[in-house]
Subunit: 424 residues, 2 copies
């Protein structure tokens, strides 16, 4: 498809002038609109104030006083809570603090310094460690592996997840490929959920590296926008079935269920992996905040109650996702200069603009007061090889601000496209 | 001094038989008394329930919504709070989660993987890393350096702190000596506070390793038992004065101010060190629980208010420390088979028994239902070269249980001593 099919040079120039005039008019308003991070809005935060209602009884179901030391891997009811939602056994779960990212960082750090279960040697003792990075992906994942000097290999994504032909070919051949980042459900930012076939192939594929490790960041497992949510196969179960029970470490948290700054998180993996890593964690820490764990379980109760709670979140943010789609369709539809997804859940919309136009679009938006995630951030080292992906995080701004920001963004995307086309 | 001066062999045997009969009588009671860890008791935990009284306003002094993402290094008022108590500037402070131990582990891990400010290379790239370990010391410190393969060198302690002649001689000569663990105030377990001269010498001494790093675990800074507390020089200030501003990282927490499982912690170091390490932390985590930070500062308010709060803790635990001293004096005094300290603060009493008798005493106590910290735990690798140090943690048990446990412990210490003397 050719952009602006049927337009003459003059028409394109006129369109550009018209957009520039709209752009200048927005710019003169001195706006400050932030869509850079996947942050819940204030209305969402207020859904969880019930968390603080019962702060009188601090004894866990097994008699542990949650105020005091003890229970390294978390309180019994917190493990039972996540076990129900994620189909796990309590022995597979370690409850963390307010940051599942920190648990992932710690996993990578432990893999490098001391090695995980089944490692011949720690990754830090190897000449070269490579990771597969489905893209567009999560910038904070890539920042961790970059910090550890990992060579990151971009894996393209389609509507079923990562390109599995490519993944299988790479891991079969290269034993320096030690791991892979995955956001398997409502992926950050493309919103896709890995198909059953992709999950099974990831679980079963032959890897040259015996210590190949998948970091399964199931951050948006229950973050649906609609009544008919995506479904994701149980990766721990699939790995067990495929005879690779120790391949995967799963992570999730309540950051976007209760509070982004003050939720609880967990790591889940095979019992064997868990027993091994707990020996390291017991030296690292006294364990995480058990008062917060108890508050969370008392408030969220169980899977069914949590599902109801998540519907309240969806009711607040669904109109925002729909506003983005509506405005992008109105402004950019039919011109073949942009494509974007309409996710069933998660926190992002992934916008692909003309090759070479993402950075320019984001810069134009920034200058008009609209802050987006840096162009390139969804790729390792911050370098999008096509310079075409832009991550939109629609949840935080009030809907009227969001509408304005997306109006401006679409103008910027179109100006950048026209600049490119007219210069060609 | 000779133990049991003036006793005949027969008298010693009779004494032993008498003690064994008391011991068997206690043993038959099937007791379960735990003095293994420095845990606050339930009455102490209840002092901090005011923390939960105001859970309605979540906006920090600078407008940050503490429920949401942001403020990697902690909220402004938490930094101001610790800055006042510890004579720091806010730029020198990073606020952590519920475990200062975890912050210390992270510091060591970062030193090994990526290096800290001013390091020529990460310690993980070196053939050999050694740490100085003043002993008796904190078992969890030693466990961290053991995990990282550090060679730990025992430094004897006297009433002024570590033996500085030995410390200075070692660090001047050996550039593999990269660090030192210190609990400078109401030391765990000996209760001593480093003298001004010791602090100044630690700050000023010439070290062959340019990246020599002191981990200053100021855990008990405000944990006084009496009205005339020990005083400790400001180590960051002394390091600055001595021209070694980047030598020290200080840690503390509210674990024994509010809740051991759910307090807040901090790390403090020079602005230059802090700027360097924050670049790594920003990749590791989204930051720590800011709701808990805000609750803490609203409850503890400031230095003066916290001092009053700490007096309430002291009123609860002082009688326990005094009961230990009273019973040990009554049972073991004048026999020259044991020595112990009477600390002005902190959480421990350090009991030295006859050489070769600590393990036996702890085993005897265990068999009679009294759990103590393992003998040897106060030394690197769990090996007390003299097998003579026992750590007593008197705060957790109710005073009547504690009295019984110390009665039993003194019987065990005396039996072990008599076994040794009679076998000689």
């Amino acid at each position: 498809m050719k952009p602006y099919q049927g337009y003459s040079q003059q028409q394109l120039q006129e369109r550009k002038n018209q957009l520039l005039s709209q752009y200048e008019s927005y710019k003169s308003q001195g706006l400050k609109l932030d869509m850079s991070r996947g942050k819940p809005c204030t209305e969402q935060l207020e859904l969880s104030h019930g968390l603080f209602e019962d702060m009188h009884d601090f004894i866990s179901i097994d008699g542990t006083d949650v105020r005091n030391y003890g229970a390294l891997d978390g309180i019994k009811e917190a493990k039972a809570y996540f076990a129900e939602i994620f189909n796990l056994s309590p022995e597979e779960i370690f409850i963390g603090g307010n940051s599942s990212l920190n648990l992932m960082y710690d996993l990578v750090a432990k893999a490098f310094i001391h090695g995980l279960n089944g490692f011949e040697k720690p990754w830090g003792k190897l000449e070269k460690v490579k990771f597969l990075c489905p893209c567009p992906g999560y910038d904070r994942h890539f920042a961790i592996t970059e910090l550890f000097g990992v060579e990151m290999i971009v894996i393209p994504m389609d509507e079923n997840g990562p390109d599995m032909d490519k993944v299988e070919a790479l891991v079969a051949e290269d034993d320096a490929i030690k791991g892979m980042w995955c956001v398997p459900k409502y992926s950050n930012p493309s919103g896709i959920t890995y198909s059953d076939s992709v999950v099974r192939r990831l679980a079963a594929m032959k890897t040259k590296a015996p210590d190949f490790t998948i970091i399964w960041d199931n951050a948006y497992a229950i973050h649906h926008l609609y009544e008919t949510p995506d479904t994701l196969l149980d990766m721990l179960e699939e790995c067990r079935k495929a005879g690779n029970p120790n391949r995967v470490y799963m992570f999730s948290s309540t950051s976007k269920v209760t509070f982004p700054g003050a939720g609880i998180s967990f790591m889940a993996t095979s019992k064997e992996n868990m027993a091994h890593i707990k020996k390291q964690i017991t030296i690292q820490t006294i364990g995480f905040d058990k008062i917060n764990m108890l508050q969370h379980v008392r408030f969220l109760k169980d899977a069914a109650h949590t599902e109801e709670h998540m519907k309240k979140h969806a009711d607040i943010i669904r109109p925002k996702f729909e506003a983005v789609d509506e405005i992008l369709s109105k402004n950019l539809g039919g011109k073949d200069i942009a494509a974007w997804n309409k996710p069933n859940g998660g926190y992002f919309i992934s916008l692909d603009v003309l090759e070479g136009c993402a950075k320019r679009s984001v810069t134009l938006a920034k200058e008009a007061g609209v802050t987006l995630t840096s162009a390139g951030a969804t790729y390792p080292y911050g370098k999008d090889p096509n310079d075409s992906n832009i991550r939109i995080a629609p949840t935080y701004p009030p809907v009227e601000e969001l509408r304005k920001a997306i109006e401006i963004l679409s103008i910027c995307v179109e100006i950048a496209a026209l600049e490119k086309i007219l210069a060609a």
